[in-house]
Symmetry: C2
Subunit: 306 residues, 2 copies
């Protein structure tokens, strides 16, 4: 696991203790909500696999339902990895194909279909646009997209990928309500602090077990929970636009990002963090700006003072 | 306006002052979010009409977009009232018919279509079931539905009506993101405190201007803003299941409910509130229980302690 080599000492966790604590949290949440068990959307990625594995340490398989919700642009790996973790934990899962629904919602018309006929082409096109935008504006599209923007392509892309997550939550909740299950979310601390989630999309959940763990700590926990290496080692991706990985969108590796975020939370200076993380001060400023601009996503919604 | 006759002195508001304050709140929110204007889902009801009218006091019409999203079970009045308030404020609106999308999502199969072929029949059936359930369990379905329940009809009904609201937010946000607009929510203090909203449905918004106003205070504000009497005087309804009004679902009039809620917030005793509001102590307990059981809906989502 080369990925966790760079994790600094103070971000290491006692995986066994953390696992037990989070399993108890999930168990207690089900009890107090008077639900029968839990439900989770399975993307085949690290976070949802880890949350599922945590639940599986405290519930028998029949108390856990997985939902696999692929759509036109999903990677084929996502579905097979989701099925793999469902099989390992022995849970039941259902599959809802989102393409016909998204089609009826008119979403696909906003990004020409021809781009997606060849997935590599889509990735290349988006990546090219991403780099060009960054060069022209001096700001990464992900950062620009966190607040209002009048740049057409960013607006359309935001609407395009966010709708998928929101539709997934709508379907997940309809299952949860029909079966009396608690919805488990999968957002980790890194995503939460940087705004790397969809507001009212994947942050819409009943419980959020990973919220206090940085992404690199989720890696450690996943390893402890024996998540297959295939899932741990693949490049984390929101799987919303072909070829776009988390680290490409954010523009910085998770090891570095977590180190910077944790140092920022300890109120270290930009210069000190730059030295500790062997990063340009400009990058630290960028991470600080991600946290600042995404603040509204953690307070929802804004209300007038009384 | 017979409806506001019973509002006690201490719940009266200075409508002009409140209107100015809330308009400034909306204006400032747009500025700080760098959006171009606001968007709102228009149901033809009091709350959305009032929020629209507030926005219209501070923005020219072209900075406001309304979205009318009817579906199979919507009352015909809802759409004509939504169009009426759009016309009065001079704003543009778009119409998205939800029925084909909800159909693809498989929601309608959960409540037999024949029930909805005649709207009065649907209302009568749901009302009959509602009363029967209350009689058998000693608890209103609305209260039971706030937490996990294994009662089949409540589970199905919850999934049925909540999906509609969540789909509306998904569509509203896709418009908002494409047009760079701020999403205005319409939840008032009475709904918020009693859990009379759909979590990640109508509470999913960027700003929530009415959150500090009880429903009866929204009536006062609406009158000041010259909302047509037709809209002010019709029975408030979520318009999700034909015939089911707010007051039927909650089981208590808004005047009484607001009085009880405000007395509870002043820490009056059950017995004192019963006397002041001329209500049975059992009803006060019921309102207290609504507030208690809906607490999780105001904290979202639950997270483990650090």
């Amino acid at each position: 696991m080369a990925k966790t080599k760079l994790i600094p000492e103070h971000l290491r966790i006692d995986s066994e203790k953390v696992s037990q604590k989070l399993a108890a949290f999930i168990q207690n949440s089900v009890k107090s909500s008077k639900t029968k068990g839990v439900i989770i959307g399975l993307s085949g990625g690290l976070d949802s696999s880890t949350v599922l594995a945590l639940a599986a340490t405290t519930f028998p398989p029949h108390k856990i339902l997985g939902l696999i919700m692929p759509e036109r642009d999903s990677s084929l790996d996502s579905e097979s990895d989701a099925k793999l973790i469902a099989k390992i934990t022995g849970i039941k899962y259902d599959r809802v194909e989102l393409t016909p629904i998204l089609d009826k919602m008119g979403i696909y018309q906003h990004i020409p279909k021809v781009i997606f006929s060849q997935k590599n082409l889509a990735g290349a096109a988006v990546m090219g646009g991403y780099k060009l935008y960054t060069k022209l504006t001096g700001e990464r599209p992900f950062l620009s997209g966190l607040k209002g923007t009048n740049f057409g392509l960013i607006k359309r892309t935001n609407a395009y990928y966010r709708m998928k997550h929101r539709l997934r939550r709508t379907i997940l909740y309809s299952y949860a309500e029909r079966e009396n299950l608690l919805v488990m979310g999968t957002i980790n601390k890194t995503e939460y602090l940087t705004g790397f989630f969809v507001r009212y999309g994947d942050n819409a959940a009943d419980i959020m077990p990973l919220i206090n763990l940085y992404k690199t700590q989720v890696w450690l926990l996943a390893k402890f929970l024996r998540i297959p290496d295939k899932i741990i080692n693949k490049a984390p991706s929101p799987d919303l636009i072909p070829g776009i990985t988390d680290e490409f969108a954010i523009g910085i590796s998770y090891e570095k990002l977590d180190l910077i975020l944790s140092e920022l939370s300890r109120n270290e200076t930009i210069q000190d963090i730059a030295t500790i993380s062997n990063t340009k001060p400009k990058t630290i400023e960028y991470v600080k700006e991600l946290v600042k601009r995404s603040e509204y996503m953690r307070i929802m919604p804004y209300i007038p003072s009384d």
